[in-house]
Amino acid sequence: MAERRNGRPQIMIACRDLSKWFELGEQVVHALDGVSVQIPSGQFVAIMGPSGSGKSTLLYMLGGLDRPTNGDILVSEQPTSQLGGEDLAAFRSRTIGFIFQAFHLVPTLTALENVALPGIFAGMGRDEREQRAFRLLERLELADRIDHRPSQLSGGQQQRVAIARALFNDPPIIMADEPTGALDSKTGQTVMRMLRSLCTRQGKTVLVVTHDPGVASYADRVVQLRDGHIVDDRTVRVIGQPIAGQLPARAGQEHEHAE
């Protein structure tokens, strides 16, 4: 599990001259203005910046949830800015696992059904869906919560269910928008360690949008945005070579924080 999988493109995500303009009355707002970035496969990237800097817009556009006004996007070798509706849905289904600040679990479904939801849209059979969802929940130590509805789960448990859902179709990329924003700091750390582990152990490419430097400290690379421009892009750690002293305090605490 520790080795990186073969067959993945070296550059997982690339964009060039990416722009997004909104019209607000007579004013044109440049949410993103000529952003170019390349993210290698298996990198953990934190996108940081103040509110309105365009960091969420960048994430959603790279994830195929929004369309750019200008520029090209290549994700997992697919030109997503040119894909049509059905293809884009299939792309999101297979390539990206999304995690949101507000979890976005369906309140009428159990934890198991929520995790299995992407399987429905992928056209997977019921048995396979439920088995896979159960294995994922087991891995995230939620095996005893499969029949609970979101309202019966704590915030941390809900976000773990959301992570399991993001992993359901085994996508090469995980995108998280402020994943710890609705959690207390301890629970937030547990969630970040999970994302880190997905990157380190399974070689997933992880993009996290955050304004919390503590969250960004889990990343290999931190991209700073301001007013729609990249103002700083710093690789703090080379993939596969953890920087000594970066995570010493957290080692061995994993099980204590698991709820």
Binding site: Y60, D66, S93, F98
Partner: protein
């Protein structure tokens, strides 16, 4: 996959139960209104039809020469008008949908003499083989005719009187004669030059007809007998070439063929009439009535449709983020559309099913109420009429509302369709929502 999406929709319906119930209740009211109003027209139609007579009357067509006169005199020369000739009768047999052609000729004159009492009747000559097609039944005896035999209409014996007593200025009260059990004869008269010659023909009754047909005051005789006596009465030999029947009854194979057969006869230049035509007009009237009353109910359903649309719009507004989420994890526009359409369709179906149930319940309650009311009034000898209803309830057997299974099925389909149609616009809006907008919606 459709099953899974349906289950999602069912789960979604459980979220706001009060709202679901109220929205469905709107559809329920609309559906019930449509069903009951249309059921009323079915009930009234049945009552109207049962008042007309037996079902055999519905396949009867009376054929007659079409002496139609326009405003400025005859449209055709009388000699050009097709007549009821022997040849014509043969042609009538060729029309598709004809079960039988029954030509009839009346005996020209004649009176009935039973002892000292005399009476009159239209005496009709008919081919004995065609008796089964006449649409009459015997209450006594059996339907057959040999030489010098007659079949008696139900009320022929009602008005007999004694001519001598009448001549003496005595009691002119009609006497009722049971002709089936009394010996009687026919008196025929030949009016040549001078005094008329009387001829007495002893006849036997083979059957007494059930009442309620157009032959209550008629007698049937074999056609050959009537022709023979007519030759004697008129003193002229009947030539088949010049012969005209007095009336021709065409019997259609079924109620449905009555109209085409009538049309074919009219095309041949004859007049054709019968209850079948009347029934058709009646049906047309009730169809129009059904449309109108159904439309009134439809207005209630239309109001309900706006309720469904409103509920779906609200539901979609509330669940905008969820729509964004579904799209983020791979749902296509079509998946989202399907989920919301199924939801809307289910709201309609639920309301429709409840409406069908309520309709049957109300139908039974009202019909039972009418039945017991008319039973009470019937007991007082007033013929079972209810004063506030413009119809004779004794004729409808207590069924003012009739809900055929097709109507119930139609109402279900209609309610579901209304739900789907009402949900279409909100569902389309949901499906087209860009995921990022949906996710960020507050």
């Amino acid at each position: 996959m459709f099953y899974e999406l349906s289950m999602l929709a069912v789960g979604n319906l459980g979220r706001a139960r009060a709202r679901l119930i109220m929205t469905s209740a709107g559809v329920l009211v609309g559906t019930t209104a449509v069903i009951l109003l249309v059921a009323l027209t079915f009930g009234l139609q049945r009552a109207a039809e049962s008042g007309i007579g037996n079902s055999s009357a519905l396949t009867e067509i009376q054929v007659y020469p079409n002496y139609s006169f326009g405003p400025s005199g005859p449209e055709q020369q009388p000699e050009e008008i097709p007549q009821l000739t022997v040849e014509a009768v043969q042609k009538f047999w060729q029309i598709p949908g004809v079960a039988a052609v029954i030509p009839m000729t009346n005996l020209q004159g004649g009176e009935i003499q039973a002892g000292r009492l005399q009476g009159y009747a239209q005496i009709i000559g008919i081919d004995p083989q065609l008796l089964p097609y006449l649409g009459v039944t015997a209450t006594q005896g059996s339907l057959s005719l040999e030489r010098d035999e007659v079949i008696i209409g139900a009320h022929v014996g009602d008005y007999f009187f004694d001519p001598d007593a009448a001549a003496d200025g005595g009691d002119f009260q009609p006497t009722l004669v049971n002709l089936f059990e009394t010996d009687f004869r026919l008196n025929l008269y030949q009016y040549g030059s001078g005094t008329p010659t009387q001829r007495r023909v002893q006849v036997d009754a083979t059957a007494l007809l059930a009442e309620g047909t157009s032959y209550d005051y008629a007698m049937f005789m074999a056609l050959s007998d009537v022709l023979r006596w007519n030759e004697w009465i008129t003193g002229t030999k009947i030539e088949p070439k010049n012969f005209r029947y007095d009336q021709v009854l065409v019997r259609a194979t079924s109620r449905e063929t009555t109209v085409p057969v009538s049309d074919a006869l009219r095309e041949m230049g004859y007049g054709a009439g019968g209850l079948g035509d009347y029934i058709n007009q009646l049906n047309q009237f009730f169809s129009t009535m059904r449309l109108m009353l159904g439309g009134v109910g439809g207005v209630a359903l239309l109001v309900a449709a706006f309720g469904v649309a409103n509920t779906m719009t609200m539901a979609i507004l509330e669940r905008t983020k969820e729509i964004g989420l579904m799209k983020a994890i791979g749902a296509t526009d079509r998946d989202v559309l399907t989920v919301f359409l199924i939801e809307a369709g289910l709201v309609g179906l639920a309301g429709g099913a409840a409406g069908v149930g309520l309709s049957f319940l109300l139908q039974n309650l009202i019909n039972q109420g009418i039945a017991s009311l008319s039973a009470q009034q019937g007991g007082s000898g007033q013929g079972g009429g209810i004063s506030f209803l413009p119809i004779d309830t004794s004729q409808i057997g207590g069924s003012l509302f009739v809900i055929p299974p097709e109507l119930a099925a139609f109402a279900l389909v209609l309610a579901t369709t209304v739900g789907l149609a009402a949900g279409l616009y909100p569902a389309l809006r949901a499906a087209r929502l860009p995921p990022v907008i949906a996710l960020k919606m507050e």
